[in-house]
Amino acid sequence: MAAEGGLQSPGTKTSSSRTTKVVAGFVRNVLPLALAIGTSGIFLLALGKSPAAFYGAVIQFGLLGTGWQRSIIMLAPLLLYGAGLIVAFRGKLWNLGYEGQYLLGGVLVVGLAPALTQSLPLALAFIILMAIGATVGGAWTFLPAVLKAKFGTNEIITTLMLSFVGIGITNMLIRGPFQNPEVTVPQTAVMPLDTMFPKILGSRIHIGIIIALVVVLILHFVLTRTSFGLRLDVYGASPKSALHVGIDVPRMIVIIFLISGALIGLAASVDMLGLWGTMRANWNPSYGAAILPFVFLARLNILASIPFLAFYAVLATGGALASQDVGLDSHFLLVVVALILVFMSIIEYIGMKRDLGQSYIPPGLRKAFASLLSRKNEGDS
């Protein structure tokens, strides 16, 4: 193995033909999905369920009939959410406070929506509400951003802690000022259907998907084609280089965080105004953890994230009903998602070793095998 990689630099691999590149991309990005689905099937068999019945139901409820419409409705916030994660992760800033940003943005939108949609023209109210959602989501990253920019405080800790604070405040708002007086359960007032996002051409799909697509496509252009995108990538690759080439690093950190939080807040607004129309206490869709593997499978590329997130939307909408159908807990979906992450890591590791021309087996493991073998040989002789 070492001999094969002897005089080949990693760079020469990139110049190989287009087809091998496509195949390599397929292996690295799609194979983990296939393996996870296959392994989950084995788990299903072990649980005494039929994998064919389960996956059949996923397709039936997630794709066929009106299933595809439900999947698209779910996709709208996921696209914005995923873009929010991608912006931060491209800058190697680990914004893990997504849940707090999402819920806090969402609760303010859905809490203020009844008053605003009734007193203002609907279109204007939507714009203001979406702006509120984005602002709140962004604002919730501001403290971690400033701490990171000024003192280099680890953003994983600060965003995560503030996320818990955000979730707490969300629940206080639902039980306090936004409590629906007509019911006893802690939840906000339900938006009348005619004050929510209009539907597209008689389908159930609301206009959120259009808003999401427009926003993420613009963002994709900004990240890949503009000087700002290049600066962000330079900062992500090496903060030292960023400082060296004259990028205002503290400002860059704050901007990345604000965009990331704003997109997640916008995702919440679209979800509230388009689908839910109300929020109950302790409700948490936990999109962030579920889509994390997919934004990495998309190599932090927004355009590439669209099919992956669509796949998840089908899996999630179909899977929720499918698991009821075959008598499984709906948390089984998380098993599938976790397996994707596991297989992705393994395939990445193998791919990296292959590029370096090294052995696929970790040195420690190889040594253990070698010593076992030699012992066996000694015994033979």
Binding site: G6, S9, R225, F228, A237, S238, H244, V245, G246
Partner: protein, 534 residues
């Protein structure tokens, strides 16, 4: 150790047998066999990247050979860890300091002691005295490691390597940052150790040291052992003959491409370094850059700059000498604008630029060629072309309306790649895959275009192959000949003497002396400054 006459020894104390070690993209050691004998100094010569360091790390137990083996006194041994190397009596003095600066000398030496529950301070003191006698140096055990001069630090490093009773002592480029005085002392210590029957491996890229100290010389090139001069041959040959045969071996068929012989000798430091520029007087001219008592913020991990002042005039090269880590990096970054000043002022053309940022200073013509080429200078994942315009992101003509103008960028890149002879498969190759020398050329190309006025070079030739070293020095010299001002930070005294008009010494972040480079004795005078007032 019972001493016996060295001549009678026939079995080598340590033998390297057909050792091969590969890394992705390179064969660092290719079928190398060497013998080390008691009471002999074996010099290992070779350029950067010839495989010397890999060979040492195999002997030190840090790496395992892919093929081949090591024999100690005729017995095949497996050096699986640094501890195994120590147990075999192999001590290594590395190129970079391994002393912990906040600890005393004695504490540093006792770091590897694992004997009892309590530290044996008395025993350690006795051992230090014993070693001090062997080395012919008096080492004060209670001194803080950071308070020692570099030569003394090196003696402590040698003592540390021999602490557990070495039979083989490996010195990795021990003279590269020493003053002439300290080199003389080191030579004396090596001679004493040799007389006590130690086997010494002396790694260097300076031919004159190999000739004056070595009993045997081996030359490595591209991972292969290309030349070996035995004890007997070395004794009866003149320095000229040895030089001839070693240069042939080191450069081989490349000699023609390196240029004339004089150049090859100069870069291999076969002769004493001397100032290669005509001495000029700069006193009458107005300084382009004036540093006036500048200081950098305190840091727990490095020495900050404290009240440093220097003027640089047009066409002048000011060298900054000093032991690595004495505030050189903060100094460079203060001037480049990458750090904030805590006090003092920086003037450019008489104007106060203390509060302007990196970008503003770049546009004024202040450029910084960083020593951290791989992680600060370039972004390895981006293409060569983009790296060449990395400091001009968003500026016309390379960017228009926030979008990159690919034709303009490629044109600029093509021009720079050919005029600085950057060897790259194409403009869109990832910059991180280039060799160290080509990355340095890329950085020079980027910094020396678009009207540079003052350029800070931080260790510009560190770790480069000899051909590129020569080319980089020519570029620095040409820039100054054309009226540019240079702040040249280097730990290579020969380089400073060769290029600078003036050499200032930085020590503990402070300016501690200045030598005008106008006579043959510059290196010695800088050396005296380094040793301090006593």
């Amino acid at each position: 150790m019972v001493s016996s006459p060295p001549k009678s020894i026939s079995t080598p104390i340590l033998s390297i047998r057909q050792v091969t070690k590969k890394f992705p993209g390179v064969i660092a050691n290719d079928n190398i066999s060497l013998d080390l004998h008691q009471g002999k100094v074996h010099c290992l010569l070779g350029e950067n990247g010839a495989g010397k360091s890999t060979l040492i790390s195999i002997l030190a137990g840090m790496q395992q050979p892919d093929q081949g083996w090591i024999e100690a006194a005729g017995q095949r041994v497996n050096i699986a860890s640094p501890r195994a190397a120590m147990d075999l009596g192999i001590g290594v003095v590395y190129q970079h300091s391994t002393l912990i600066s906040t600890m005393t000398v004695l504490e540093n030496l006792m770091l590897g002691d694992t004997g009892g529950v309590t530290l044996d301070i008395k025993g350690a003191k006795a051992r230090l005295e014993e070693l001090g006698e062997m080395l012919g140096a008096s080492i004060e055990g209670s001194a803080l490691a950071s308070d020692l001069a570099l030569g003394q630090q090196q003696q402590v490093e040698i003592a540390k390597a021999m602490w557990k009773g070495s039979k083989v002592l490996i010195l990795d480029e021990p003279t590269s940052m020493l003053t002439p005085q300290a080199i003389a002392q080191l030579e004396e210590s090596v001679a004493r150790l040799k007389a006590q029957d130690l086997s010494i491996v002396f790694i260097t890229h300076k031919l004159r040291e190999a000739y004056s100290m070595g009993d045997e010389i081996s030359v490595l090139r591209h991972g292969r052992l290309v030349h070996h001069i035995s004890d007997a041959v070395l004794k009866k040959s003149s320095e000229e003959e040895i030089k001839e045969s070693v240069l042939d071996a080191m450069f081989g068929e490349d000699k023609a491409s390196v240029g004339d012989k004089a150049f090859a000798e100069e870069i291999s430091a076969a002769s004493e370094a001397h100032h290669l520029r005509s001495t000029k007087s700069f006193d009458s001219e107005e300084p382009v850059l004036r540093l006036s008592g500048i200081s950098s913020p305190d840091s727990p991990t490095e020495t900050p700059v404290k009240g440093f002042s220097v003027d640089i005039r047009p066409g002048e090269i000011v060298g900054v000498a000093g032991i690595d880590g004495h505030g050189q990096k903060p100094l460079a970054e203060l001037v480049a604008g990458q750090r904030k000043l805590t006090s003092g002022k920086i003037f450019f053309d008489g104007e106060d630029i203390s509060s302007s940022g990196v970008r503003k200073r770049q546009s004024l013509g202040i450029r910084y060629v960083t020593d951290d080429r791989m992680h600060e200078g370039i972004v390895g994942d981006l293409s060569v072309a983009v790296n060449l315009v990395l400091k001009r992101i968003g500026m016309a003509p390379f960017w228009r309306w926030g979008r990159m103008n690919k034709t303009a960028v490629d044109q600029e890149a093509q021009h720079l790649v050919s005029s600085f002879d950057i060897r790259t498969p194409n403009l869109h190759t990832r910059a991180g895959t280039l060799s160290g020398g080509n990355i340095q050329k890329l950085l020079l190309a980027r910094e020396l275009t678009h009207e540079p006025r003052v350029v800070i070079f931080n260790k510009p030739t560190y770790g480069l192959d000899l051909k590129t070293v020569g080319r980089v020095r020519t570029i620095v010299r040409d820039f100054a000949e054309n009226g540019g001002s240079v702040l040249l930070i280097s730990t290579d005294l020969d380089e400073l003497v060769e290029l600078s008009d003036r050499i200032v010494l930085i020590s503990g972040g402070r300016l501690s002396g200045e030598v005008v480079n106008d006579s043959a004795k510059t290196a010695e005078r800088v050396g005296e400054l380094m040793l301090g007032p006593n």
